[in-house]
Amino acid sequence: MNVIDPRIHQALDGELASEAVPVELRRAVAQIAAAADLLAASPPGPAMSLESRVMAEIRRPAPSRAWRLIRWLVTPRAIILRVRPAWSVAFAAVVAALTLFTAGDEGPELAEHEGIAQFVGRFPEAQSVHVVGTFNDWRPGSIALEDQDHDGVWRATVVLPAGTYEYMFVVDGERWVPDHLAERLVADDFGRENSIVIVRPARR
């Protein structure tokens, strides 16, 4: 463990005035402060309110013991599966072979007025994620994101005519979520915000 100058800790704990911190240590203090700011600012995304969910729950009478038992019995639980690495390597090889020799998917050829939009979102517990927006008439279910390696990161790459589009993600078919990574947001006039994607024509 690398131990850092105690004055850095003192400054961060408010025990040492910032002017009293030697110049060579100020960078470290600033780095920690900046990291904390980043963490504080960005559990990303616009307001998620739990109020209606919690209030609905507490307005209901507390569940009885029997009901709690039933719920426990039907709640899905994680099961840890132990697999020898040799089997997973073999499985990976089969999947790779199938992917390589069957698909040969190099993607579509882009026309001059078309570009690529990439949609990426982290939804670790999601069962499905779709992107819905002005490019598909806000039709839920038409563009599914995929999480091929089950790491909770969902992606879709779509060819679209160059232009500006508004969109949102729909998680598990019901939860509307803006793209937290999109820099551009605009009010949707329904009390929420849409993300904006600008698709530029592919350069040839």
Binding site: E109, T157, T164
Partner: protein, 223 residues
């Protein structure tokens, strides 16, 4: 050859879509009680030479989000007002009526993204020739990052006058943002980028040609 087949197919598929009535596009997608009001707002837009697709999209969006009918109608009304404002602004700034629908949509975007009307008007007037979409978004991106609005507009206008192609204007705003990331003040960032124009650093470029894994939508997207 293959491309022609694809184009012909797309045109074939697009024809019935274009011919489909507005009501047809809305039916089943928004509460039926809201359809007459939305339809008449769209007729107004059409009669006034305003683009109707943003209004249809707003209604479909409300329907998809399960918003009650009256709120959908209200939101379409707001969108109609924005398009009228956009048209008036374009005419004030010197565009000859009938104003291009795409330009109205662009200006409505700029206003929705929070740019002040006089600023938008200034950019429109300075860039007499459409399309202005990239320029507007570049200015809006800079303003969203707390750059001074007037200087942001000035930088983008200068970039166009210096010969930066329209489709690369977003790279100008990106270059300015990068300078700030490197520790420069916003004023310094502007000066550095302005000094480099019309050259731009190689930045996140749109992908070329074939893109592995990219999908096309099943039906043609609206314009």
């Amino acid at each position: 050859m293959k491309r022609w087949v694809v184009l012909a197919l797309a045109a074939f598929l697009a024809l019935p879509l274009a011919a489909q009535s507005v009501r047809g596009r809305l039916e089943g997608r928004i509460p039926s009680a809201a359809i007459p009001a939305v339809d008449s707002l769209i007729q107004f837009a059409s009669q006034e030479g305003l683009p109707t697709d943003p209004l249809i999209q707003k209604a479909l969006e409300g329907g998809a989000k399960h918003v009650p009918g009256p709120r959908i109608v209200a939101a379409v009304q707001v969108s109609l007002g924005q398009l009228r404002d956009a048209r008036d602004l374009l005419v004030r700034a010197g565009d000859q009526p009938p104003v291009l629908p795409a330009e109205m949509t662009t200006v409505a975007w700029a206003l929705r993204r929070g740019l002040a009307a006089p600023l938008v008007e200034r950019v429109v007037a300075a860039l007499a020739r459409p399309p202005r979409a990239a320029a507007m978004h570049a200015v809006a991106d800079l303003v969203a990052h707390r750059f001074d609005p007037d200087s942001a507009a000035q930088l983008i206008i200068e970039a166009v006058h210096d010969g930066v192609p329209r489709e690369r204007l977003l790279e100008v705003s990106t270059a300015a943002l990068q300078q700030v990331q490197r520790g420069h003040t916003r004023a310094e960032a502007f000066a550095i980028v302005r000094g480099q124009l019309p050259n731009l650093p190689a930045s996140a470029r749109p992908p070329r040609g074939n893109v592995a894994g990219a999908r096309r939508l099943a039906s043609p997207a609206p314009p």
